[in-house]
């Protein structure tokens, strides 16, 4: 068949109805403060990785709370766990622990434990 170069794109919308909350629930259980983010952006502003890489910890967390976790594994490894985000967070969220637990949850999913 002739290839016209068209393909079917997966939809881009945030699908709240088909919410894969496994990572989110795990993280919230370990670090409930993750719920109270107001997206002020202080974490990203001070982030050592954000200044050199295409990495946005605030956005990553927001997407996770929306059930979007594609590329999470690749993205989260850009974090160097320096903890500056935790220092500046005005809501007192332990962001470093959030990241640590995202990593743990990803490992658990790999090992079919979540």
């Amino acid at each position: 068949m002739k290839n016209f170069g068209f393909s079917v794109q997966p939809p881009r919308y945030i699908d709240i109805d088909n919410f894969d909350g496994r990572i989110l629930m795990y993280v919230l259980q370990k670090e409930p403060s993750f719920n109270i983010c107001m997206s002020c952006g202080c974490c990203t502003a001070t982030c050592s990785a954000s200044n050199i890489l295409d990495f946005n910890i605030r956005k990553l967390g927001l997407l996770l709370r929306r059930g979007v976790s594609e590329e999470l594994e690749k993205e989260i490894n850009k974090c160097m766990l320096c903890g500056k985000c935790t220092l500046v967070c005005p809501r007192g969220i332990n962001t470093r622990n959030v990241i640590l637990n995202i990593k743990k949850a990803l490992t658990k999913i790999d090992e079919n434990e979540l």
């Binding site: 107001m38 997206s39 002020c40 952006g41 202080c42 974490c43 990203t44 502003a45 001070t46 982030c47 954000s50 200044n51 946005n56 605030r58 956005k59 500046v88 967070c89 005005p90 809501r91 007192g92």
Partner: protein, 340 residues
């Protein structure tokens, strides 16, 4: 008309308005003010949002109203405690004991001490000032420049300083700083038409009549820029200008910017008087040490002790019109209480 004795603790706008209205109802009032002058925080402000009217108009109106033989004023007098005995009160202040049938606490707020946000550099860098400092400069009617006298090419306003901030110990929103920032940005632009002005905010809470319109005017007429992102840290350059780090959260990218001056929009905290009186009298407190009304919706002027009333920002952040309205509402509650 019943002539009862009422002591009002605090001579800010709430205390003055309540004193005037209560005296009109035939009561004798003593205003006890810890500072040397009446008018409270409002007297430190130059112009008021959203109309940019002179704050002295409000103060003058209220001072005229309390010029009345039924009202006496004690300045430089700090109330240490209020004791209730057999339905009446003894107010202890500077070694005196004042008798009262009812007491109104109108001890108000203090501006957040911006030095506590060390990462913003207030008190460390010369070109970091706060909203009250800027009002003083507006009032002085002198050219506004950077600390070394050079022209301000760019000024950044930082919203939510000491508000919505667990690390500063204040989780609540001070609610008036949003519109104060917009007002001050416009005033600064009027004085310095060539200066670029950028406001860094988390949310802009334009709840009052005319607030949203002022925000729109700031964008439309005065070209003020708004960046949705909270200041993360500020550092000083060799030349005394400042370097700002924030995230532009709407584009999702970290942002760095040089600026000649930073204005911190400091929030409201319970005043020293509000805090110490609440503690000494044993009143219920909320949002740190603001005073808790008996019923949030229905009895907002009654404290947790019967006969002891509250008005104005000692219960939480308020605008000037809310404070005046609250003081008048307290007057009704006090009058009803004294008729019983």
């Amino acid at each position: 008309m019943a002539n009862k004795k009422i002591v009002i603790v605090g001579g800010g706008i709430a205390g003055l308005e309540a004193a005037a209205s209560l005296s009109e109802r035939g009561h004798s009032i003593t205003i006890v003010e810890s500072k040397a002058t009446l008018g409270g925080n409002v007297s430190n402000w130059h112009k008021l949002f959203p109309t940019l009217r002179d704050s002295s108009e409000v103060i003058d109106y209220l001072t005229k109203r309390i010029d009345n033989p039924k009202i006496s004023t004690l300045i430089n007098t700090k109330v240490e405690n209020i004791k209730k005995n057999n339905g009446s009160f003894t107010v202890e202040a500077n070694g005196m004991a004042l008798d009262a049938d009812a007491v109104l606490i109108a001890t108000g707020y203090d501006l957040f001490d911006s030095r506590r946000k060390e990462e913003f550099g207030y008190g460390i860098y010369d070109n970091v000032i706060n909203s009250a400092d800027l009002e003083k400069r507006f009032k002085a009617e002198k050219p506004i420049t950077s600390a070394n006298g050079s022209e301000l090419k760019r000024v950044a306003f930082i919203h939510c300083v000491g508000s919505r901030d667990e690390k500063a110990g204040n989780h609540y929103c001070s609610k008036v700083c949003c519109v104060t920032g917009v007002k001050q940005a416009i005033e600064l632009r009027q004085r310095l038409p060539r200066t670029e002005i950028i406001c860094f905010y988390i949310d802009l809470r334009m709840f009052g009549a005319g607030f949203e319109e002022l925000y729109r005017e700031a964008q439309e007429k005065w070209g003020i820029q708004f960046v949705r992102g909270r200041l993360s840290e500020a550092a000083e350059n060799m030349d005394g200008s400042l370097q700002i780090k924030a995230e532009d959260t709407l584009s999702g990218r970290p942002l760095k910017m040089r600026t000649d001056m930073i204005v911190l929009l400091a929030g409201m905290e319970p005043s020293c008087g509000t805090t110490s009186l609440g503690k000494n009298v044993g009143l219920k407190q909320r949002m740190g040490t603001f005073l808790q009304p008996q019923d949030e919706h229905l009895l907002s002027n009654k404290s947790s002790i019967d006969g002891l009333f509250v008005a104005g920002t000692c219960t939480g952040p308020m605008t000037i019109n809310e404070t005046i309205t609250d003081a008048r509402s307290a007057v009704v509650m006090i009058d009803e209480y004294l008729k019983k």
